[in-house]
Every structure is written in C-alpha cells, then in structure tokens.
C-alpha cells in the first residue's frame, strides 16, 4: 500500500468538471510531479488532498485511512502555494515557526528548528527580516522552510518555481531535488513546466481536462508519450495520422519506417525532431526550409513539405541548411513512436 492513495476522485464546479475519477498513488520518500496545461485540474487536485476543496466523488486515503471529514489543519500535510502566501505581518522567523507554534512546540525548540531550516534553504540568520524586503527567490525559500517546519507527511508544491526567473529556477530545481532526497520528504508537486517536472520528479503524472493522461518515469513519458495530446504538450509537433503495414507506415509525408514489432493498422505517428534528417534534395521527401532556430548545442529547423503539415527537424549546428534552401528529408525508425489513433486523452500508458 502506498502512503497516499486517490481513489476515483472527482470535483465539479457547476457544469465544469475539474477532476474526473482520478486515481493516484504516492509512495513514501518519492517525488511525484503532476504536469499539465492551465485548467487541467492539477491545482484542484492538490487542494482536494490538502482538504481545502471537498471532493464530489471518490476518496483520499493516507496509510489506507479515509481522510474525508478530516479538516485541512488536522491532515498533517504541507502545502506551498504558488504565490507563497507568506504572512505579511510576521517576520521570516514568525512565518517559519507558525506551524510549530500552532502545534504547541516549545519556544527554544522552535527557534532551533527555524535556525536549522533557514540554514538548510540557504538563508542563515534571516530570522528577523521583513517579508516585504525579500526577493522572489528568498520568499520561495522562506515558504519552503515554513512548509517543511512541521515535518509534513506529504509536502505539496503548487507551481513551486513558477514566478522565478529561469536561471534561479534551474538552480533551485537541483537544490530542491537534492534537499528532498536528503530529508526523505514525500513530495507531490504540480507544474505546467515539463523541464521542471522532469528535473524534480521520480514519477510524472500528465493531466488533461481533469483526467490523468499518462503516468510514468520522466524517461518513459519522454520516450513513449501515450497520446498525441501528451506528445504535443511535451513540445513534439510532428504528429500525423498513419497506417502501419509491416516495417513502414503510410503517411501524408510518404513512407515512414517504424521500429520492429509495431502493431499494424491505423494509428497516429510521432516522429521526434531528431529522427527527421535533412539530406540532398532528391534523397528524400522534398521540403523547403522556412525557419532556423539556434539552440546552442543544436539547431531546430522548420520544414515545409509539398503536402501535409510542417515538420520540425533537429540537427547539429554544423550541417544545418539555410532558410530558403530546398532539402530532402528521411526518417529514422528509432525516433518514431506509434500513438493510439483516437486521441481520447483517457489512456493511461506505461
């Protein structure tokens, strides 16, 4: 049995279904990231678990015990809000010690814990600082220390790094992952940023319209998106209807080789940009190069074939053709993934 289980949880706001029979498992000492676009219901999911939102259906179980009827303040979970929600009228120490005070922890012990936590999040000696004087990154650290202080059974993070600039975000992701590993914290985070989710999580849960679209390790989800929706959400745009017969698939882009063992029949096909290779113009599918984006270690090309949707290709900076050039395109079977034909968004892969 996992530490936390969600069993068919559903939430409706009027006619809008925010969560639709969601099942989820969270093991102790693991970090799970819920990934999804705006409005996919991921924040509602956190609020249901925290006890801030009543579920209209289903159960939330902690150690197998049903939590319905247990109010938020008795659940022993931590929640870090996306805009932190630090108490403006208290200083840093007053914020971090809040959860300890309401539990009746002694003053000396609380002070000791606060000092230790501030050290841990990289703000040693910040106890007496005013909340308004903190930068965004510092506020984020204080919010984290405040959530960690009462040693919650599950720490939930709502868009933990959403408001910070990119450099700070990349650094904090690494720090958080290291910290959670060291403390053995059980973490459930939600984010719309796939980079953040993949960097932070042991397992990723992709959500769409209040349902779970896919669960798996970051590697599994990245390599084998379960649906065209997941593929597109991860930034893959080369998705077309196809019919597989043997080792090739018939698409609007011509014959595309598929990995061995791909089941035959109609489906959708994802071709990752790395599997789209530009060759001399008569060597493959003829395309015009419409744009070229430099990404440091590689170059992303936008290609327009004579027929069908545009293609994205990724290649080494050295051999990238100029915009306006005419090229041929061949596909590498290793980067081709079969997706289910009907994209219901309901399939749980992996």
């Amino acid at each position: 049995m996992s530490l936390l289980n969600l069993d068919g949880v559903g939430v409706r706001f009027g006619t809008h279904t925010a969560l639709d029979s969601v099942d989820l498992e969270l093991d102790e000492h693991r970090t799970v990231c819920v990934l999804g676009p705006s409005g996919s219901g991921k924040s509602t999911l956190l609020r249901v678990i925290a006890g801030l939102q009543k579920a209209d259906a289903g159960r939330v179980l902690l150690d197998g015990r049903d939590l319905s009827g247990v109010p938020a303040h008795r659940r022993g979970f931590g929640l870090m809000f996306q805009d932190h929600q630090l108490f403006p009228q208290r200083d840093v120490a007053g914020n971090v010690a809040f959860g300890l005070r309401v539990r009746g922890t002694g003053r000396a012990e609380a002070e000791h814990t606060v000092a230790g936590l501030l050290e841990l999040v990289g703000l040693p000696g910040a106890q007496r600082r005013n909340i308004a004087s903190l930068s965004g990154g510092e506020q984020q650290r204080v919010a984290l220390a405040r959530a960690l202080a009462p040693q919650p059974r599950v720490l939930m993070l709502d868009e933990p790094l959403g408001r910070l600039d990119r450099r700070l975000r990349e650094r904090l992701v690494v720090e958080l992952r290291e910290l959670f590993g060291r403390l053995g914290t059980t973490v459930l985070a939600v984010t719309h940023d796939q980079g953040e989710a993949f960097a932070l999580a042991d397992r990723v849960v992709v959500m769409r319209d209040g349902r779970i679209a896919q669960t798996g390790t970051p590697m599994e989800v990245w390599q084998r998106p379960a649906s065209a929706f997941v593929a597109r959400f991860l930034g893959f745009d080369n998705v077309v209807p196809a019919t597989v017969a043997g080792a090739v698939a018939d698409t609007v882009w011509g014959k595309v080789p598929v990995p061995g063992g791909t089941p035959a029949g109609p489906c959708r096909l994802l071709i990752r940009p790395a599997g789209v290779r530009p060759v001399p113009v008569h060597g493959g599918l003829p395309c015009a190069v419409t744009a070229r984006t430099f990404r440091g270690d590689r170059v992303v090309l936008r290609l327009r074939p004579h027929d069908g949707p545009p293609l994205e290709a990724s290649c080494a900076p050295g051999d990238a053709p100029e915009p306006g050039a005419e090229v041929g395109v061949v596909f590498a079977a290793g980067e081709v993934v079969r997706l289910p034909d009907e994209d219901t968004g309901r399939l749980t892969g992996a």
Binding site: F13, S38, G39, S43, R47, A50, G51, L52, Q53, K54, P71, A72, H73, R74, R75, G76, F77, G78, L79, F81, Q82, D83, Q85, F87, P88, Q89, F98, G99, V102, R103, R146, A147, P150, E159, G162, H192
Partner: protein, 572 residues
C-alpha cells in the same frame, strides 16, 4: 495591491460550509445590527414622521402639498441644494490639485500636512462654525483688520464647508491617485499622447469614479449640514436640517418638520443609491502599485508653483481659522490670558447658562463618546463581518446584503434632529424606557459612528486573501486560530482607525445630542452652542475657549489615528 489570480484564471473557491449553515451564520451576524437600526433609527424616525402626518387615526397627506407649496420651504429647499452644489464644486476645485500634490509629490512634512488637512473633517461642526465666526464674523480677525464681515454672507458657509470636506477629496481621490501606476501614463505618452492628453485619456478615467464618489460624499455632508449653517447662517440662510430643527424645537410645528424630514430622506436615499453605483464601478480592475513608490520631488518651476499654491491655500483655509480660534480664546478684556479658560471652571463664571461648570462637559463628552465608540464598533464590526462574507454574485441574497450596506449609510444623511427628537418620543415608555437614562446620548452618537466603522473595516476584511487562511490551515491552525492569527492582526489597525473615527464623530455629534443631552450633563458641542447663543464678550470668549478644548481633544484622537493609518482606510 498585487492581484494574483491563480494560473488557472479562477480564484480558488473557499470551501464553504453547507448553504444552510452559511446563511444561518450570516443572519446571526446581521441580527444585532438590524435590531439596533430598527430600534434606534427606524422606529424614532418613523414615529416623528407619523406624528407629523397622522392625527386622529387619519393620514393627512393634504398637508404635504401645503408645505411643499410654501414659499419659505421652497426657498430653504433651493438654498440647501445650491449651497451643497456650490460647496461641492469649490471643494473639488481646491481638493483635486491637493490630491495630486499629495499623491505625486514628495516633499518634507507631507505626512504631517496630510494629517493636518484631516483634522477639520473630524472636528465638530460647532468648532468649525466657531472658528469661521472668529475669522470672518463680528469681532473676528478680518473685522479687526479691515472691517470686513462675511458671517452673514453665504461665503462663510461655503468656505467652512470646504474647510470641512477637503479631507474627503484629498484622501479618497489622492489615495487612489497615489496607487495608480505612473507607467500607464508613460505608456500612453510613448504611444504619442501629450502630457495633458495622457492624463485625460488614462488617469482621469481611472480616477473619475473616485472623484464622483468623493463629490457625492461632500454633497451629502453639505446637503445635510447643520452646525455650520446654524452658527454662520444667521436668520437669512437655512438648510433643510436647520429648518427641521427650527420647526421642531422652536416653532413646535411637527407636521411641517415631518414633511421636511421625508423630503430630506428621499433626497439622501437618492444620493446614496447613486453613490452605491459609483462605488461598485470603482471596484473595476485597475493596475495599482505601492503608493510609496509613485511620489517624487517636484521638477521645474511649474510643479514647484503648483506645490506652493496648494500649500498656501491649505494653510489659509485650514490652519488660519483654527489659529484664529485659539487666538480669540486667549483674548480677554485686558489682553492675552487664560481668563476664559478659568471662567469655564465654575458654573457661576458662565452666568446663568449652565447648571454645572462648563468644563464638566469635557468629562461628559469623553464618557459618552467612549460608550458610543464601543457600541459603534460592536454593531459596525458585526455588520462588516456579515457583509465581507457576502458572495460577490447577483443572487437575491447578495442584493439583500447590498441593501443592508446602503441602509447602514442612511443615518449619515438623515436629519440628526429628527433622530434626537424621535428618541425622546419613542424611547420613553416600556418596554424600553430610556427617557432618564444617560445611554440615550451615546446610542444616538453610535448611530453616526457605525457607517464610519463599516466603511473602514469592510475593505480590509474583504482584502484579506482567503489563501492566507488556507496557508494557516495546512500548517495546522484551526479555523478559529487562523482567524486570530491571520484576520485579526490585519484588521486590528483598521479597527483602531475606525474606533478613532467613531470617537471623533461621537465627540462632535450635535444635532441629536442637543435634544437629548440632559441640562446638567451637556456635551462639549452643546455647551459651545449654548455659550454662542448668549450675547456678551465673555460668553463669546468662553465659547472660543471651549471650542479650543474640543478641538484639542479631537486632534489628539486624530493624531493617534494618523499613526495607525492604513492605506486601505481611504473610503472617507
């Protein structure tokens, strides 16, 4: 203010208790304020009106036409309306540049000066009247210097009204102005709009609702003006409120008074309805920034000239009358001295005007005002809590609560004289016989304190982000604990500010108190009015001395209030 909508574009909803429980809670919260207003406002006013329009079990509506057709009444009505309009226009003309200067310019003494401008607003009308009498009236400063007297002209009334209400404009409009993001205007200028055009197209529309709201409040206050007109108006000028007093207390013509009360009631209700609309429009989304960051030092001769012009007007208009008041109170027959203050110490010194030493009025006033403040905080606090829980929607429930909100404002515009007299005739028999109770005075004073409490506390209560309470909850705080740890510290300042307002307003309440204060226990404003009503140098000097005392008491509570000022207390 940093609006932070959830990324999903919806604000997370508060986990509400069941509909029934929520409704019961809200009804429970409104029960005390509703009962208070029924017994101490609706009943007395209704009783007065009924006494004037009913006789022998019959309604006498014919009298209505008679009163309305009366030439004198039409004169009063006309004067009430146009002096209010002129006062409002004049206040806006002085106040808007003032609001700009206080909002956008950073200069030494800015905070002190803003406090000084607010002093008149909480001053008792009687003091304002006396101060302008000391400046413009018989034996006043201008009379001494140039032989100019304005106390029988309408100018004295208009100037006193500006003196009084300048703070309403400067605080309401200036408070918002300081929070408007200057970058909005800069964006317009980058798009090619000139300075003036940028102001007209960007800033003015954002300010317009606040200007309208402030203007309406000033109009309301001057429309129902009593103390100022009573003292400065002489026999020639009379507002509805003064006329109601005259008909009730001097001519004992209750029928005419009842019609006039109804007339004023209708006018005020209409004004409040318009006010409620503008306030709701004002809640539209604006980009607001921290007020502390938008002000900068004036640049160039034009801005310095504007700053100095505004400061000069403020000094002349606000400080001069108060200064003259103090000076007159110290002027005795043999030069400067404390003679008048000494005379206040004994009943004999005041001739036969008082049964007790006038100085005892200080103690009476403080005690009454303290009780009134307590009552106003209780009633207003409960009402504000109920209103803050109101759903923002358009359902019948929320419309009812908005109606309740408007109802709470009514005492501000209703004739205080009517309320006071109504107290006397309704609360004099069982089950509620308060005729001989000292409680009558603070209850009447609390009635005008409640709107201030609601207006000050409600915006702060509404601004407490529900997610802060949730943050407390997930950290283990029970709902009660979360209220104590999150709501209370944030509202505490607003409650103290509200208490200061209620206290000052109670101290200065005159129209109702003059009816119900017992002769042996006058309040300060009543004592001042009595002294002014008597002829003679000595009485005049003592009136000035007592007004000075009243001013100092008010200023002290205001200074306390200014130290606690919150940025969100700007609705008045």
């Amino acid at each position: 203010m940093n609006a932070s909508p959830a990324r999903d574009g919806r604000r997370p909803q508060r986990p509400r208790p069941s509909r029934g429980r929520e409704l019961a809670l809200r009804l429970g919260l409104t029960a005390v304020p509703a009962a208070f207003f029924t017994v101490f406002f609706a009943l007395p006013v209704a009783a007065i009106v009924a006494r004037g329009t009913r006789a022998d079990g019959q309604w006498h509506t014919g009298h209505l036409a008679g009163v309305l057709g009366d030439h004198d009444v039409q004169q009063v009505l006309w004067f009430t309306g146009w002096q209010a309009a002129a006062s409002t226009a004049l206040t806006l003309a002085v106040g808007l540049p003032g609001a700009y200067v206080f909002a956008r310019f950073d200069f030494p003494g800015r905070n002190l000066l803003r406090a000084v401008v607010t002093v008149p607003f909480v001053l008792p009308t009687v003091v304002a009247g006396s101060a302008f009498l000391a400046l413009l009236g018989r034996g006043g400063l201008l009379d001494d210097l140039w032989g100019v007297r304005l106390d029988t002209t309408v100018w004295a009334i208009l100037l006193a009204h500006v003196f009084f209400n300048l703070a309403v404009v400067i605080r309401t409009v200036g408070g918002l102005w300081a929070q408007l993001d200057p970058q909005q205007e800069e964006a317009a200028r980058m798009l090619g709009a000139g300075r003036l055009r940028a102001w007209r197209t960007v800033t003015l529309p954002a300010l317009a609702p606040a200007v309208a709201a402030a203007g309406l409040m000033v109009f309301l206050f001057t429309f129902t003006s009593f103390g100022v007109v009573q003292i400065l108006g002489g026999p020639r000028y009379s507002t509805l409120e003064v006329e109601i007093y005259r008909q009730t207390a001097q001519l004992l013509d209750l029928r005419t008074a009842a019609v006039l009360t109804l007339l004023q009631f209708a006018a005020v209700a209409a004004l409040l309805a318009v006010h409620a609309r503008t306030v709701r429009r004002r809640e539209s989304s604006l980009t607001l920034v921290d007020a502390a960051r938008t002000a900068r030092r004036p640049e160039g001769p034009a801005q310095w000239a504007l700053l100095w012009a505004v400061l000069t007007v403020v000094l002349l208009l606000v400080l001069l009358p108060l200064g003259v008041l103090v000076e007159r109170s110290l002027t005795g027959p043999d030069g400067y001295g404390l003679d008048h203050y000494r005379a206040l110490m004994s009943p004999a010194g005041s001739g036969a005007t008082f049964l007790v030493a006038p100085v005892e009025a200080v103690g009476n006033s403080l005690a009454y005002a303290a009780v009134a403040t307590g009552v106003a905080l209780l009633v207003g606090g409960l009402a504000a809590t109920a209103l803050a829980r109101a759903p923002v929607g358009r359902g019948p429930g929320s419309r009812m609560l908005r109606g309740f909100d408007a109802l709470l404002m009514l005492p501000l515009g209703t004739s205080a004289v009517t309320v006071g007299f109504g107290f006397l005739i309704t609360l004099d028999e069982p089950p509620l016989d308060l005729r001989d109770s000292w409680l009558l005075v603070p209850l009447a004073q609390a009635l005008v304190g409640v709107p201030f409490v609601v207006r000050t506390v409600l915006p702060v209560l509404r601004a407490v982000d529900d997610r802060l309470r949730q943050a407390a909850a997930v950290l283990g705080a029970s709902p009660l604990r979360a209220w104590r740890e999150v709501d209370l510290p944030m509202v505490r300042r607003a409650v103290l500010v509200a208490a200061g307002f209620a206290f000052a307003v109670s101290l200065g309440e005159f129209g109702a108190t003059v009816f119900i204060a017992r002769p042996e226990a006058p309040t300060l404003p009543v004592a001042v009015a009595r002294l002014l009503g008597r002829a003679g140098e000595l009485n005049y000097g003592q009136a000035m001395a007592l007004s000075t005392v009243l001013m100092l008491v008010c200023a002290a509570s205001l200074l306390l209030l200014e130290r606690l000022r919150t940025d969100r207390s700007g609705e008045f």
